[in-house]
Symmetry: D2
Subunit: 281 residues, 4 copies
Amino acid sequence: MEKVSFYSLVKNYKAVFIDSYGVLKNHEGLIDGVQDSIEYIRSLGIPLRVLTNDASRSQEQQVKVFESIGLEGLKKEEIITSGMLARQFLELKITSGKIAYLGTERSAEYILQSGLEHIPISDIDLEDIDDISALLFLDDEGFDWNCDINKTVNFLRRKNLPVVVANSDKYYPVSNNDVAIAIGGISRLVEYTVDQKFIRFGKPDTQMFMYAYDELNKTGNFEKKDILMVGDTLRTDILGGNKFSLKTLLVLSGNTRADNVDLKINSTGIIPDYIADSILN
Amino acid sequence: MEKVSFYSLVKNYKAVFIDSYGVLKNHEGLIDGVQDSIEYIRSLGIPLRVLTNDASRSQEQQVKVFESIGLEGLKKEEIITSGMLARQFLELKITSGKIAYLGTERSAEYILQSGLEHIPISDIDLEDIDDISALLFLDDEGFDWNCDINKTVNFLRRKNLPVVVANSDKYYPVSNNDVAIAIGGISRLVEYTVDQKFIRFGKPDTQMFMYAYDELNKTGNFEKKDILMVGDTLRTDILGGNKFSLKTLLVLSGNTRADNVDLKINSTGIIPDYIADSILN
Amino acid sequence: MEKVSFYSLVKNYKAVFIDSYGVLKNHEGLIDGVQDSIEYIRSLGIPLRVLTNDASRSQEQQVKVFESIGLEGLKKEEIITSGMLARQFLELKITSGKIAYLGTERSAEYILQSGLEHIPISDIDLEDIDDISALLFLDDEGFDWNCDINKTVNFLRRKNLPVVVANSDKYYPVSNNDVAIAIGGISRLVEYTVDQKFIRFGKPDTQMFMYAYDELNKTGNFEKKDILMVGDTLRTDILGGNKFSLKTLLVLSGNTRADNVDLKINSTGIIPDYIADSILN
Amino acid sequence: MEKVSFYSLVKNYKAVFIDSYGVLKNHEGLIDGVQDSIEYIRSLGIPLRVLTNDASRSQEQQVKVFESIGLEGLKKEEIITSGMLARQFLELKITSGKIAYLGTERSAEYILQSGLEHIPISDIDLEDIDDISALLFLDDEGFDWNCDINKTVNFLRRKNLPVVVANSDKYYPVSNNDVAIAIGGISRLVEYTVDQKFIRFGKPDTQMFMYAYDELNKTGNFEKKDILMVGDTLRTDILGGNKFSLKTLLVLSGNTRADNVDLKINSTGIIPDYIADSILN
């Protein structure tokens, strides 16, 4: 793959998909200079979509978080979260009953707008679960892991029903050194314990790229060859972008660094089309 | 889930996606009565698409195989194979060099229409691989497993390049009792040996459903809720259809049988919306 | 395999290894009649060893638990726990520094008798970990999963050191319907998150059978063909007993039941030499 | 871990276990100077055992191969192969019927000395398998992969019986650059296809260490702390040696090299007690 500058590369495309964490922001907040990059993209007349596996916030809430760290001008329709895919699944497939969930009340509200009642796992009575029609892994916060993970396991041992994971990430960064296990990781523990197959949404699954692609095409006429995918993580952004047949740019401002990029590409076999230090120039 | 008749269910949809093996045909040939079912679907004015993980034949060749076993009237544009996704990937992502492959010459020809030269693994000189730009797992036939699987491993140890698997199935039936390992299984052995991550196409991955959906929408205006997915296998047809948010019908004429359907649904956690004996009534 | 009675089978052996949960006791306490079975074994002059993956209690504590539910006469040297293997590993391999652990203080005390200081993960200062020389997963109780699992992950991201799992079970039963995730399951979540390889002790690993075998041979002269392994779980008791080349008896008083035994044997490929309803006759 | 010289380290032990490939020999033959190392060990009066996952040759045949490449003085009882564990299993557990196998006639002969008839998969009639009582994966040579791997799958679909893998390695080196898939890898493909659980012998499984330990103790009185395990591969030699609670020495003359040793230790979490360049000084 070629080492390029983002500014010179992006000019050749009609649209750009961008990962959030590690490209636009990091644990300290907005990456310095990203506001300029966004304005440069806008100046070229290129539409962008931010693709994030963070299912804990709605599009509006994501925009507010970006504003709070200093990035202005993102519009809610430019944000695509894996939670939106979970919401679509629930709307189309689950048309009656209550939806049980692990996560915060806030994350549940944005996803569960289909009119169905939602109930945290902690409030379920395991002797009275006939009216529950789906289970949703939303967020690693908002519940007691000791109690509620075991309760979820026992719930699934009693009732076979659709299980949806709104964020397939293993973990997310919380500081320069440290990470926290994401709901995707917790869902793996439950899946492994009950030995069943859950439905997961989020990169690298191409369904998220398809969702962004379909939304984009409501605003114009874009082909896959017209779109550049930009991300910092081989196993999510680049693998998914490649599989969806987009050209992919790996940036070295997040998970993948200049000192380990060659090793990671060789050991995973996941190969971006281009590499750049960041989106800053 | 409800036990239904296919004839009464399909009336409620505007389009139908149908798996091939286990629904339309089996190892003995066309399932008796399927011609009537297809004509019934046509009489309702409902478009259909056949979704198959068989990447060894083009749309035209698939139609001819159906004709040879007695099913008339399928059109080539009604066939969607996982190989078509592989072809799209190669056309958009691999624009120079030669493409190495494991499979038959025939399967290679239909997929590699992008003008790039293709070369079977057996013809590669491992000391001269600079101009090879991708590797394609196509078909379990057409090569010597003893020699060429090891040669593929050593090729991948020397060169890091995109690897595409055109059929993700583990195996396929060859008689009432027996199966043959599919190229998807062989690719797993190579992936496990070199410890890398290949790009796989085919159900249950939703990209195949998306491809069929996009093709269908070139002929009219269809939403996901308008489409019924019909298949005989939980882990491919039903899991993929569910995840793509289609309503799913499991038929008991193939992999899943009346005497194991409850067990399989409970042990996998993959739940169809409906169950029918077959598509025959 | 043959269906037999335990009483008639065990007469043919010189020693017997017995799993605890599902054979001797269950969630309600001692299985009715087990006292007689133990006395029958003793009357034959056949030594027995109880092999358990419960690492939370010492041999003495295990004997007391058996007494508290009504089983008299077990001696501490007849109990072999997976924790004893972890203890042996630590004594032989970790000769300096402190040992960090997840579990209860009680379980830590019995295992960490080597004179090394032990410290719960919750008390570690992640900025001061130079003197910690090993990490031990002991027990699912005694710590806050929300905090301490993440802390364990971040500890392992900072320091590469031997990690030992004293109980490899996924979960254990807590009532007729319900289970609780065991420390073996929690360790899998951490292993999956940090992508490293931990050292696990407990059935089906044959090291536990070897430990019991060596201990038994300190009291006499026993060959493998002289010993019968009795258990209720295919994936631990029977797989491990088979691999250690013991004759194996599956009893249907615990995890495996008369109504699913054929299915489980066929779907796992783990085949006991004999089957009995229980050890009660 | 400490960087040491083998000569100065081995003096502190009463016995030494040594891996074969990558320590004593490589694809070019005997490693220069190894004869001196063996004589040095002998001069110290320290017994040695060679632990190898190569199940294709008996102890006598292994000694002859060592002689043919120039290493004199190894005795057959000093060789421990994973095949010897498979043989023990078959002798103790399979007492009637015929044993089907994949491998060469030569490898079958040394393992199947129990008096039972053995039959290559290629000679089996799938309609007449009642008298076959076990299946053995022995060696990657001696059969047609295209035919016989599929035949093995269909055999296992018809009959549930004990399946033993005599060498758990994924692959083995055949030249400086190239490898060949070992029978352990092929067995994984079959295991994955039929979704069953086979019994595997060989490092890192501690049963092989136990076998060597028991054999050694027939000649004297050795404790685990008296024995040093020497190997070139973290995932087999070092992981297994550690788990069996031996002190472990990683040498950099084979799979693990000076330029990747830190990376491999950090990425796997498998930590040797000592590191040396080779056993040559």
